[in-house]
């Protein structure tokens, strides 16, 4: 009975989405505003029904209602409440339902943000969103139905995969990832609307920018949270392994980052309209590709692919969306004429272009390395993967170049400038570059790419700081304002959008430094220890002091207590453990990390043998890893600042420029 209420809500949302899509496109082709109103109502209807379906599932999980098939599949009475809630996205059917829920929120907010100033782009965008919504509602109603009715209601369920119960990050990471993935639907719909109506008005471009920044910010956090989760849970000691799932989250972030930048060039110069739209569309298609790769089971086995019912459906949607987008781009892109010629030479315009090409290059490199094994397996029936050295060797130089452009670009003025001007702007930042280089050499770093990266990082850090504070410094000079007052104007006044970009850049520079140093300058050691034995790594001395036990409702843990000393100073004990879940056969390790600003000490128990009193220990010293988490917070703040500046300030910028006024419809 309870399951059928869920099914009803899903069907209602499917009905609203499909009906609304038809109404929206009918409004567009017949130029009837009354149909647009119907489409808007249908969009809200979809959102409400889909949102309620999600709430209904959460209620089912909390009430241990095993008559709902999904609850019977992942629920368990013994679970803590937070695990019950996050079970919503812990398995395939629920995660697609959750996708629908996030899409519901996005579509409701985006529909509200569209005004009559958007003209006929309004029904075109709503129609595009609702076509996507129809597909996902169909997926939930059919192939991935989570509200199946269980006839023989079990008394308890197995609980979700223990790897997912093992860390509280599992509660945070998927919402961020979905916030990024699903959110790409909104700019995609706006890009399609621009192509369908044949013009990218300043109003529409502003909406495009805002709608791109929201998922970009979520995705930035999500990509790194995924790495953090791997670091804190998987126990191999790193945060990034270039595995297909990680790549799937990175790919749309790369094109999204390119799109956010090329949109600036489009906005300021009126150029690259088709290119910006292509990047937005690519970002959306890559999220669908990522969903296909991670949800169809294709990366484990071709069998799982043919057995999985949603894999082919998602693939069909991906193919349809790709073909439709390419066709639309091909037919319509010529309508989006540039307003100016692109500036050539050493200007900021060129730097934007270089940034875009580098990000696209990065995307292709990762994309090819990720899908290559699939193609080989399909053609030659050989199983293989592309090794980490490929990704490292290809992406490190591209990454270093991106860092370089991030420094040089903002140092360059818009448009052309004299040689003296260029020297004056480009040379001084090298000072901090050399300072960083010297610091790295003193620290003992000898890896060439790390040194190059750190030099660029110093250069870019100088430019970023200098440019971020420049308006404030100018005001201090001419208005004799205090520093804080001048800075506050940039954060809370019309300069916020500019500030946001440099905050994001500061985060990116920090991330570059953290990644370059942590991935090349760490140390590790694996060793078996008997109780009372010690080992040393670097300045750390580790003693296996004994075995402890812990009981929780859903798991029992065997803990190895490891006494840690650094240079003879007692730092207390770390407790890597093995967890045995009540509902699962296998035990799973959880590493223990002593986090520091300079370096992390990372202990992972490979095995704990209580009979012989031995522990197999993996020990790593990971420098600067915590700065990657800090960098992400800074980048996200930059994203949020930009997001909450663009609505008002973006229009102010528009008003000051020599743009054609939009014809009133």
């Amino acid at each position: 009975m309870t399951a059928s209420i869920g099914r009803g809500l899903v069907l209602l949302s499917l009905l609203c989405a499909s009906g609304g899509a038809v109404a929206a496109f009918a409004a567009l082709s017949k130029k009837r505003a009354d149909l647009t109103t119907i489409a808007v109502r249908a969009a809200y209807g979809f959102s409400l029904a889909m949102f309620l379906a999600n709430l209904w599932m959460v209620a089912g999980l909390l009430r241990n209602d095993f008559s709902i098939s999904y609850v019977a599949q992942v629920g368990s009475i013994s679970l803590p409440t937070w695990v019950k809630v996050v079970s919503l996205w812990s398995s395939l059917e629920g995660s697609i339902l959750f996708w629908g829920g996030v899409l519901a929120i996005y579509i409701a907010v985006a529909t509200r943000s569209l005004t009559d100033a958007h003209g006929w782009a309004k029904p075109a965008a709503i129609g595009s969103w609702l076509v996507c919504a129809t597909f996902f509602a169909f997926l939930i109603a059919g192939p991935a139905q989570p509200f199946g009715t269980v006839v023989d209601v079990p008394s308890d369920g197995p609980g979700p995969n223990p790897l997912l119960q093992n860390h509280v990050l599992m509660a945070i990471h998927p919402p961020f990832l979905y916030g990024g993935y699903v959110g790409m639907t909104i700019p995609f719909g706006i890009a399609l609307a621009a192509l369908i109506t044949g013009r990218l008005s300043p109003t529409l471009l502003g909406t495009l920018r805002t709608s791109m920044l929201a998922p970009w910010t979520f995705l930035t956090v999500a990509v790194v949270l995924g790495g953090w989760w791997a670091y804190e849970v998987l126990g191999w000691g790193g945060y990034w392994a270039w595995d297909p799932v990680e790549n799937a989250s990175l790919l749309p972030w790369l094109t999204g980052t390119a799109a956010v930048h090329s949109a600036i060039l489009t906005e300021r110069r009126g150029v690259l309209k088709g290119w910006t739209l292509s990047l937005v569309i690519a970002s959306f298609l890559l999220t669908i590709l990522g969903t296909f790769m991670t949800r169809s089971g294709i990366f484990n086995s071709v069998h799982a692919f043919s057995q999985s019912e949603i894999g082919p459906t998602i693939l069909a949607f991906l193919a349809t969306a790709t073909i439709a987008s390419v066709l639309l781009l091909g037919i319509r892109v010529d309508l989006l004429k540039p307003d100016h010629e692109l500036d050539r030479g050493a200007s900021r315009d060129t730097a934007f272009l270089a940034q875009n090409l580098l990000f696209v290059l990065f995307t292709f490199t990762v994309l090819i390395g990720t899908v290559f094994p699939l193609i080989v397996e399909a053609v030659r029936k050989v199983q293989m993967s592309v090794g980490r050295p490929y990704f490292d060797r290809m992406t490190i130089p591209i990454g270093a170049l991106i860092l370089f452009v991030m420094g040089v670009g903002p140092a360059l003025p818009w448009g052309s400038s004299s040689r003296e001007e260029l020297k004056r702007r480009l040379l001084p930042p090298m000072g901090l570059g050399f300072a960083f280089l010297a610091a790295a050499l003193a620290y003992g770093i000898r890896t060439p790419w790390t040194l190059i990266t750190l030099f660029f990082a110093g250069y870019t850090a100088w430019v970023t700081l200098f440019e971020a504070l420049r308006p404030a410094r100018t005001r201090m000079k001419f208005r004799t304002d205090g520093f804080l007052k001048a800075l506050a104007q940039d954060l809370f006044g019309p300069g916020r959008r500019r500030m946001a970009a440099y905050v994001a850049h500061a985060g990116a520079v920090t991330a570059f430094i953290a990644i370059a140093v942590s991935s090349t300058s760490g140390r590790s050691l694996e060793q078996n220890l008997k109780q009372g034995e010690s080992m040393t790594l670097g300045r750390y001395s580790l003693t296996f002091e004994g075995i402890e036990h812990a009981e929780e409702p859903n798991r029992t843990s065997v803990i190895a207590r490891i006494g840690v000393k650094k240079d003879g100073r007692d730092l207390g004990a770390l407790r890597p453990m093995m967890n045995q879940y009540a509902t699962r056969r296998e035990s799973i390790g959880t590493p223990d990390v002593r986090t520091g600003l300079v370096e992390d000490l990372y202990l992972s128990a490979m095995n704990i043998d209580e009979q012989t009193g031995t522990v197999g220990l993996l020990v790593l010293i990971n420098p600067l890893v915590s700065w990657l988490w800090i960098a992400t917070v800074i980048m996200a703040i930059g994203g949020l600042l930009a997001l909450f500046s663009s609505a008002r300030v973006g229009q102010a910028v528009e008003a000051t420029r020599d743009l054609q006024p939009e014809p009133v419809r």
Partner: protein
């Protein structure tokens, strides 16, 4: 369209092609040198000397009575797929579940003396995976997919 525009387009297209070609060359070359093969003992032995130095993920069952512990974390055992078996030297600390008869995946390469040298040992612990009574029934794909660290689909 003026002829100047046409020339520009041709130049642009040529430039794009050259760019794409160079990229493809580097990418394909980079991939070709960095492939990791998912093989069982039969495939490794069939590859012969080609297997030496190649990156391989060897999957199979730990043969009964073959585990020998050495100095420190050194250890040797034999991996079998029911048809052929291959001796393995391993320097990594074995995971908790490691024992005779269990499905494992070891990462490494074949040394000159024909022994598989590994620096990474992973144990299969999927929910459905059971070490089969009939070792001939080892399904390499199922094994790889149920091995921790190899099954990233666990990760959302």
């Amino acid at each position: 369209m003026s002829s100047n525009d046409g020339k520009k387009r041709v130049a642009l297209a040529l430039g794009a092609c050259a760019f794409a070609g160079t990229l493809l060359y580097f990418v394909v070359g980079g991939i070709g040198n960095n492939l990791v093969y998912y093989w069982g003992p039969t495939e490794v032995l069939a590859a012969g000397p080609k297997a030496q130095g190649a990156s391989i993920r060897l999957g199979g069952l730990v043969e009964a009575g073959s585990i020998k512990k050495g100095e420190g974390s050194n250890m040797s055992f034999t991996v079998t797929d029911g048809k052929k078996s291959l001796p393995v030297r391993c320097t990594s600390v074995p995971p908790q579940m490691f024992r005779e008869g269990i499905g494992v995946v070891v990462e490494g390469t074949v040394a000159r003396d024909g022994v598989f040298e590994s620096h990474r040992l992973m144990v299969s612990h999927g929910n459905e995976y059971r070490a089969p009574n009939d070792p001939a029934a080892v399904n390499l794909k199922k094994l790889m997919e149920s091995t921790e660290g190899l099954a990233p689909s666990d990760k959302k």
